[in-house]
Structure formats: C-alpha cells, structure tokens
C-alpha cells in the first residue's frame, strides 16, 4: 500500500467542536487513479489536506510508503510535501509574477537543484504538456486550460509518489475539463503516477478508475470504475 489511513479522526475546535472525519480507513495502491467524491461539508477537503500533509489529524495513523506522517515539524512537512506530493489546485495557484517555466521550476528550487538543471527539466515537462512555446509567458497571458497544464507540470517535476488534485476542473469549461482529466488519465496509465482527485462532480469522478464516496466524515461506498460507466461528463450532473 502506498497510502494507508487507519481510523483517522479530525475535529475542528472553532467555538463549537466539529467532528469532520470520523474514523477514516483507506488504502490506495501505487499506480491507482482514484477520486474522492462527496458533497460540500462531507469532509473531503479536510481529508485532502491531511493526505497532502497540509493539516494535522487528531488520532489514527497515516502512512505514505510505510512512513508514518504524524506530528511533523513545519520543516519536515514541507520537505515531505516537496518530495512526495504534487498538488493540482482548482484555482491553479500559479505565482503571477513568475513565467510558466519559473513556476514549474519552483519545487526544484526548494530542493536546491541548480538553475540550469531545473530550467532544463522544467522545459522538458512543459514540452511534454505541449506548452514549450508558452514557457516565457506569465499566467495571466494563458487560458485556464494552459494554466492547469502548467500546474500539472509543476506537480510532476519532482517525480512525486502521489499527485493530489483538488477539484482540478473546477475553474474550467467542460471541454477543457475533459481534456485535463484525459491528460491525468494518460499520465496514470503511461507513467504509473498515483493520482487522487477530490471532486464533487460525478463526471470528473467517472474518469478515474476507483471512486471513493465520502459522506458526513465517513467513507461510504468504494466503487470500482475501471469501465468508466458511472456517469459521463455532462450527464446526471449540472455542468457549467
């Protein structure tokens, strides 16, 4: 198991205590393409934050590749995030005053890779995502789809164990959404990258091989979706 969650609990103590995750047990193997689906308030974002070592959990255990992730110092957490996890966000979260290639380089900068080498590598990844011609452009000169592809390049560049995508299509139109999901699917099949997508859209979830339903802080059904027949893009769900 690449990812193992054992009875993970999380309570927010802002005034009224809010028990968000109520004993999550989940295992994800290397090379899986999984979506975590749930309505807003179901705890899926909290789960994603814990998976991404952006937040702590109260009780239980979380292992990545056999390594226990608990009570890490900020520095350690940053180092783990840098080496093991690639993030793809709904709003891209590219740094506005840096060019596409500089954005892609950034994780390597924090690994202390030298300038020339990280530029070379960043160009390779941009090229792979068909954005070599856009390397010198700033995020505000690119379309949403292009920005998300830059973000994907940035997530891939450290060769992480897991890619965590938080509503990766949330800010994209349906056509581009489909393209992005296809791209993630290809990466998963060709490069055996483990990808976890958090979404509330069934169309997005349908592109993945396994759908984990989460509701009210507990994991419900885990659906095998290798046939991709759960629900198609644009059906049974209101798309933009």
């Amino acid at each position: 198991m690449l990812i193992e969650l054992k009875d993970v609990n999380k309570t927010y103590n802002n005034g009224q205590p809010l028990h968000v995750l109520k004993g999550i047990n989940l295992g994800i193997d290397s090379g899986e393409f999984v979506s975590i689906m749930g309505a807003s308030g179901s705890g899926k974002s909290t789960l994603l934050n814990i998976l991404g070592i952006l937040d702590n959990y109260d009780t239980g255990e979380y292992h990545i590749d056999g390594r226990l992730i608990k009570n890490l110092s900020e520095k350690q957490a940053a180092a783990y995030r840098n080496k093991m996890i690639g993030f793809i966000f709904q709003s891209f979260n590219l740094i506005g005053f840096k060019t596409a290639v500089e954005n892609v380089e950034l994780p390597l900068f924090y690994q202390g890779v030298n300038r020339r080498k990280r530029h070379e590598l960043a160009m390779q990844y941009l090229d792979r995502l068909g954005l070599a011609g856009w390397a010198g452009h700033y995020p505000n000169e690119m379309s949403g789809g292009q920005k998300q592809r830059v973000a994907i390049a940035r997530a891939l560049i450290t060769n992480p164990k897991i890619i965590l995508a938080d509503e990766p299509t949330g800010a994209l139109d349906s056509k581009t959404s489909e393209e992005v999901m296809q791209l993630l699917g290809e990466l998963n099949r060709q490069d055996k990258v483990t990808i976890i997508v958090v979404t509330h859209e069934s169309g997005v979830a349908n592109c993945t091989d396994k759908i984990v339903h989460i509701k009210d802080g507990v994991i419900g059904r885990i659906e095998d979706n290798r046939e991709h027949h759960s629900s198609m893009f644009g059906t049974q769900t209101i798309m933009k």
């Binding site: 952006l54 940053a78 840098n82």
Partner: protein, 421 residues
Amino acid sequence: MRDLFVEIAESVRRNKLRTALTGFAVSWGIFMLIVLLGAGNGLMNSFVQGGGGFATNSVSVGGGWTSKPYDGLKQGRRIRLDDGDVATTGGELFVDNVELVSATVGTNATVCYGKKSISGYIDGIYPAAQMMEKREMLAGRFINDKDIADSRKVVVIPESTAQGLLESGESAIGLLGKYVKVGDLAFRVVGIAKSDRMRNSRDLYAPFTTVKTVYGKGQEVGSITFTTKGLDTEKDNEEFEKNYKSVINLRHRAAPDDERAIWVWNRAHQDVQMKQGRNILSTALWIIGLFTLLGGIVGVSNIMLITVKERTHEFGVRKAIGASPWSITKLIISESVAITAFFGYIGMFLGMLTCEVLDKTLGQAKMSIMDEEIAMLVNPGVGLDVALEATLVLIVAGTLAGFFPARKAAGVRPIEALRAE
C-alpha cells in the same frame, strides 16, 4: 544566492513607488547621521587645532608664591625654578614617568636686521621643545644638542617675525643663514619656523645655554617643560603631579602640599577633557542620527508587513509545494535588508558628498576670536570606521525591520493561505 536576489528584485519591481518612498526615509536617516557626525568631527578638529600647540603628554612647570608658612619661612615667598629643578625632573626620581625635559629661560630683546628692527622675546630652549611645542620648520633646522653644548649664538625665527625684519615681498626663507642682531650680539639664523596664530609670534628660539650665559641668568630657569610617559589615567596624572610638586616644593623649602609654590600645567587633563567632550558630542550625534533613522526603519517594517499581507496566498502556495518556513523568513528579511542597505548607501553617499561641500564652504570660513583666526570646521567628514559602523547599523536595522513581518510570513499555514483566494 542569485535566486534570492532575483526574487527580491521581482518583489521590489512590483512596488517601485512604495519602496522608493519608504527608502527615502532610510536614506534621510543615514544622510543625517553622516552629516551630523561629519560636522561634529569638523567642529572637534577645529577645537583641537585651536587648542593644540603642545604635545598632549607635556607638562609645564613654573615658579609661584608660597601660600603657607613652612620650615620657619613665612608665606608669600617667591619661588624661582633653577638648574637643580631641571636636574631633579630629569633625574632618577621620576625616571619612570618623565621622558624628555626642556627648560626655558628668556628675556626681552630688540632684534635688528639691516635697517629694520623689532622688539621680540628671546627664548632659551632645549631641542626637545620642538617636539613638545609641535614646532614645524619651514626651512633650516631647529636648535640641536650641539648648539646647547657649545652655547652657540644661533637663533630660530618664526616666519612672521622674519617677515617683519625683511622688506615686504621678500621671502622669509631669505633670512636663513644670515646674521641678525639680538641686543648687542649677532646671532646666526639657522631655521625659519612655521608661524601659527595661536602662539606668540615674537618668540625667537636660541639655545638654552647661550641665553643663560649671555644674559647672566645664573642658576635661574624660567620654566620647565617635560613630556610624560606611563600616565594613562586621570588618576595616574594626579598622583604624579602631587608627588612632583612635593619634591620640587621641598627643594625650595616650601610645604610639600603647597598648591601655589610652583604651578604645574599638565596638558593631559586638557586632553582627557577634550576626549570626553568628543565622546559626548559624537554619542549625542549618534543618538540623534539613529532616532532619525528609526523613522525610516519603522517605514520599512511597515511596507514589509503590507507585502507579507499581499503575498499571503503566494506564500501558502510556496509552502504547499515545499518551501520551508526558513526559506520564507529568509526571503522577507533579505528583502528588508536589501531595501535598507540600498537606500542607506544612497544616503551615506549623499551625506559624504555634503561633508565635502561643507569642507569646501564652511571649512574655509574663519572666525575671529581674540585676534586669532579659527576655522569653523576643519576636515569635516567621517572616516571609514563610521562608514563601516553605519553599514552594520543598516544591516541590523534591516533585519529588525524584516523580523516581525518575516515571522508572520513564515507562520502562514498553507491551507489558510490557499483558502484566502
């Protein structure tokens, strides 16, 4: 390192006006600090130049009147220094603290050269007087040991006195090697000394032994001047003086604790006071300068806080993709130090330029005090030491200004920051 500079440059470029306005306050602070210290130095230099005709470790001694009865003699008795006092001063007793000894004996005399004559004062001195009185020579030499030994009739004339003996327009150096008449005797001019307005320019210098023999002064000595060594503190100086007075007093059958039997003028006291004054002045100027700078520092701290606030989301993203808290702290503090140092150096440069301008303008202006001309500012400006200290101040100040904003930035939690948009 280069990456850090690139990041700082990017950040500053986005907020040019804001950075420039705040930077101005820093420049102003350092500018004031440098100009104040520079002008203060000029003022102190002018005092030193005004007051300093003598080596700072020199002591002058002269005869006085006794102020109390002692050994059967009544008070109010005149004490005259003599050769024995010179020998005692330079003898075994004070060997630890006395370096060079010079004595003077003098008399008024009319000095003639050709048709011109002036009334002057002929000072019989020892070679050591040159160093003690910081006499600089324009031409020729000062009185030397051979002159003393042979009681030669030679004389050193200050430039202004020499000028008085010559027709206007002639150079004072022309008098070198000529004979002048002092009273009834011809003295050969062996040196022309530089004149300065702080000293009696009527003084002519001749060998101590010559003056004594020629003018029949017997054992009498006008004053004794000697340089001291190993007296580092005010307390050492006082103890030495007390000891010295008691020894000389006893030689003249005056009470050892009589303060007025001989007068002792120790320039070390003056020197200590001068140094204290200088320290107080420069401390005061530093404080004023630093407080002026403080305004600039608060400004830098303020824009750094705004920057951090604006960039919260960005820092969240950076942390999510692996930036350690320290890398964020470093970024903010470096930016703060870079802004402070950059504008600080502009201020420092302008301050030094202003000191140069002061030197060319006020530095050339003279004040007239008691018929003596004193420059208001002598060599205003600051040394390399102040420039280095100011650099250190800038770096410390920049770090302080960046510290709290940086801590705030490093404490940004990525989830909060990512939510911020």
